[in-house]
């Protein structure tokens, strides 16, 4: 009955209701839609970070993170392999790498790079590198002289596929080791910085160059989506001898990104409240108008014996209905927009260097976070009802005599 009454009351003045409804709809729409876009940007950053040789979890020799040199390598890969196979949940993928700082040079140019010795087939399942993202040839595990480099580096070095590239780095005897490679493939990445930084060779080529045997510098693990990586990380931590190994999650490895995410969460919730305040003024004003117009009616109801509390309740029912309607339409619109964008995303290529500067992908795909949608809707409904208490209480205060005298 109450709901029915409230519904009819709302539509006594359709134009006014439509206007305020529009305000609520745009508000909700912007919260959910822009929220999803921002989230998409964040997810892009995270995916990017994870696929740029980070993975969900990494295992290193103690001290490698602070001092990434060849001395801080893990010397027992077969033991690690056994432990990982026992601890990791089904569906996990992992790969081992040799990773050292090196200097790349050809006849004309020098540059500092990170040389990564990989197991090509396994690496392709874990990182951004793999046959699909490569122009030319991808590495083959038996290839001792092939090297895959990024497009930016290639351009900077004014070289091309088939040309020679020399890498220099410190070997296990702390001597400068150098080795000539032939460029066989070019990779492209989201970030230009990545294309400049990494060069890929096979594990065996890296071993030969650095005079290593059965040694790896890093293990990178991707776990199935429904698992918690910090829990798995602590599982691994438990079985590995802590004085030799360290295990990190991506949140720890990409700590700047993690800090960014935290700041972003706060920003988003502040934005929700700000948008609400903007529509809150409208809700209060419109409800007040609606109430004052019906002063006579409320007076009469009171004269007939209706309790003030009932009047408060009926006014609140009205704004509740209004808010629910606005939310339904707003959410629907937002989801429609998100759906429309989910195929092609928003292309930021024209600001590619700016995107690089902030570490954002060049194409943003919206990403719905259930929690954000919930918070946005809760903010609107809870605060919306709180602000309509004021007009409701006003309505309940009309005294019958005064109200009935009002025209």
């Amino acid at each position: 009955m109450h709901i029915h009454l409230a519904w009819r009351n709302i539509w006594r003045n359709p134009r006014r209701t439509t206007v305020i409804l529009t305000a609520v709809v745009i508000g909700i729409w912007s919260m959910v839609f822009l929220g999803a876009l921002m989230r998409g940007m964040m997810t892009g950053m995270i995916d990017n970070g994870i696929s740029t040789l980070t993975g969900d979890i990494q295992v290193h020799h103690k001290g490698y993170r602070n001092d990434p040199v060849i001395e801080n390598s893990m010397t027992n890969p077969s033991m690690l392999k056994k432990i990982l196979n026992d601890t990791l949940p089904n569906g996990s993928q992992w790969t081992a790498r040799i990773r050292v700082n090196a200097v790349a040079n050809n006849a004309r140019h020098y540059s500092g790079v990170t040389m990564v010795g990989i197991n090509p087939a396994q690496e392709a399942k874990i990182s951004f590198i793999g046959p699909e993202r490569i122009q030319g040839k991808y590495l083959d595990s038996m290839d001792h002289h092939g090297i895959v480099i990024g497009r930016e580096l290639l351009e900077k070095f004014e070289t091309r596929i088939g040309k020679k590239l020399v890498l220099m780095s410190q070997d296990t005897n702390q001597e400068i080791a150098s080795r000539a490679f032939k460029i066989i493939g070019i990779f492209t990445a989201e970030m230009k910085a990545t294309e400049k930084q990494f060069v890929f060779v096979t594990m065996s080529a890296a071993e030969k160059m650095l005079k290593l045997k059965n040694t790896i510098s890093e293990i990178s693990i991707i776990i199935p989506e429904n698992h918690n990586n910090s829990k798995i990380a602590s599982d691994i931590r438990e079985v590995l001898p802590p004085k030799d190994y360290e295990v990190h999650t991506w949140q720890e490895l990409l700590h700047i990104l993690t800090a960014y995410l935290e700041m972003f969460d706060q920003f988003m919730y502040i934005w929700f409240v700000v948008v609400f305040i903007a529509m809150g003024f409208g809700i209060v004003n419109t409800t007040l108008m609606a109430v004052y117009e019906r002063m006579r009616e409320f007076g009469l109801l009171k004269a007939l014996g209706m309790k003030p509390w009932w009047i408060v309740r009926s006014v609140i029912y009205e704004s509740f209905l209004l808010l629910i309607m606005g939310m339904a339409i707003g959410n629907l619109l937002a989801f429609a927009c998100i759906h429309a964008l989910s195929k092609n995303g928003i292309d930021l290529s024209y600001l590619a260097e700016g995107a690089d500067y902030f570490g954002i992908s060049r194409i943003i795909f919206p990403d719905i976070f259930f929690q954000d949608v919930l918070v946005a809707n809760l903010v609107v409904i809870v605060l919306g009802i709180i602000v309509s208490i004021y007009p409701a209480v006003r309505a309940a205060r009309f005294t019958p005599v005064e109200a009935l005298a009002h025209i």
């Binding site: 990434p68 020098y110 003024f281 409208g282 004003n285 260097e353």
Partner: protein, 412 residues
């Protein structure tokens, strides 16, 4: 005061509660926009200034294509001559010379490939803030010969402290091997990890000697008196350089060309901000549209009477527009006033964001952000609010034209 304005003003205050709520909505939007835009502009300026002061400078004179290729052979052969030009250019505050080469730097048991930068200590300290970011040891002085200052992260990676020795090995300008031994005099922490990880600075004279540069340098770095005058300086220097034929392979780059990522990053941030603000303004506009609408519906009868006694619909529309514009103006002025006060407060005291200082340091912002109130940041947001609200007010005001006096008077 004309009768119309007087009438409009009285009409606004017929329902004070509604008017105050409407004004508050407008003031809130303006206040927020003034503050946020000032905040954004302030942080951009901090970002730009710190990137400029750490390394890039406002302007650089380089050989053409050096920026892209960083080839050691692309030099400015007569830096003193360019210096003499710069001495006479208005707004130039200071300038310095630098030479750069990628080289291998080794400590006792570590080797890294880094950028070795030759600097002129006495000039450099007028241009860059590195002198103030020395954390250990001290800055280079004019008398120093084989001394170097090293970035914090590089020093950590190399495992060196002030007093330790480093071997530098690279290729000279003429293709010969360039090698020297320097001792670490100081360690700097600019806050930008990338820079602190990949650079070491030595005296320019030593650099020129080791890398067979003769008298040449790679960059002439210029600092102007403010960001605003950079384009004037650039034009002026370009003109002066063109006078001499031998300078035609030199080019002048401003900070936007030196750091394209920074400029686009700022553009992107600003664009996103504008999208958010526009949506906010539209929500506000719809919130207050009802006030404008109601003002008409409640007064249909009154308008009927006015029309019956000979007021033209045009005049009533004008009256209504004056009402809504003055309502908006009151809100906007209040918003600008409070927003400016708030901004000025934080401009003076700063906003402490030290919780995320590590993150912000990467963009050259230290723990504090100072919003910067300017005519642009104080007025552009409110102007948008004004424009959109007036647009919203237009709809009800134009509806008056359809009103028939007799029907209107019968309206309750």
């Amino acid at each position: 005061m004309s009768i119309d304005i007087k009438m409009a003003w009285r009409n606004i205050w017929r329902n004070p509660r509604r008017t105050i709520i409407t004004i508050s909505a407008i003031a809130f939007a303006c206040l927020l926009l003034v503050f946020m835009l000032s905040f954004q502009f302030g942080s951009y300026e901090t970002m730009i200034n710190s990137s400029i002061k750490i390394h890039a400078g406002h302007l650089q004179i380089q050989a053409k294509e050096y920026q892209e290729k960083q080839n050691i052979r692309m030099v400015v052969p007569n830096p003193e001559e360019t210096g003499r030009i710069l001495d006479n250019v208005l707004y130039v505050e200071s300038y310095t010379y630098r030479a750069k080469a990628f080289s291998l730097v080794s400590s006792k048991n570590r080797t890294y490939g880094v950028m070795v930068i030759g600097i002129d200590p006495s000039r450099e300290k007028m241009v860059s803030t590195i002198k103030n970011s020395i954390r250990q040891g001290s800055y280079l002085s004019m008398e120093d010969k084989n001394q170097a200052i090293v970035g914090r992260l590089l020093a950590k990676n190399l495992g060196v402290l002030p007093g330790d020795e480093l071997t530098i090995m690279g290729q000279g300008r003429d293709g010969s091997i360039a090698a020297t031994v320097v001792s670490v005099k100081g360690i700097y922490a600019s806050g930008i990890d990338e820079f602190d990880r990949s650079s070491i600075q030595i005296p320019l004279t030593v650099f020129q000697d080791v890398y067979t540069m003769d008298n040449a340098v790679h960059e002439v770095v210029v600092i102007g008196d403010s960001l605003r005058n950079i384009s004037k300086i650039k034009k002026n220097v370009q003109g002066q350089l063109k006078k001499l034929k031998e300078n035609e392979f030199l080019t002048v780059l401003d900070w936007e060309e030196l750091m394209p990522g920074l400029r686009q990053g700022i553009e992107m941030d600003l664009t996103m901000g504008i999208v958010f603000y526009l949506l906010l303004i539209i929500v506000v506009a719809f919130s207050i549209l009802n006030t404008f609408l109601m003002a008409i519906f409640e007064r249909t009868k009154e308008f009927g009477v006015l029309m019956a006694i000979g007021t033209t619909p045009g005049r009533i529309t004008k009256l209504l527009l004056i009402e809504s514009i003055s309502l908006t103006m009151v809100g906007i002025i209040a918003g600008i006033f409070i927003g400016s006060l708030l901004t000025l407060f934080f401009q003076y005291h700063g906003i402490d964001l030290s919780g995320s200082s590590e993150l912000l340091a990467q963009y050259g912002i230290s723990g504090m952000i100072y919003p910067k109130l300017s005519l642009l940041s104080a007025l552009s947001g409110p102007f948008a609010v004004f424009f959109i609200t007036v647009l919203a007010a237009l709809y009800p005001a134009l509806k008056i034209r359809k009103l028939q006096p007799v029907e209107a008077m019968l309206h309750v």
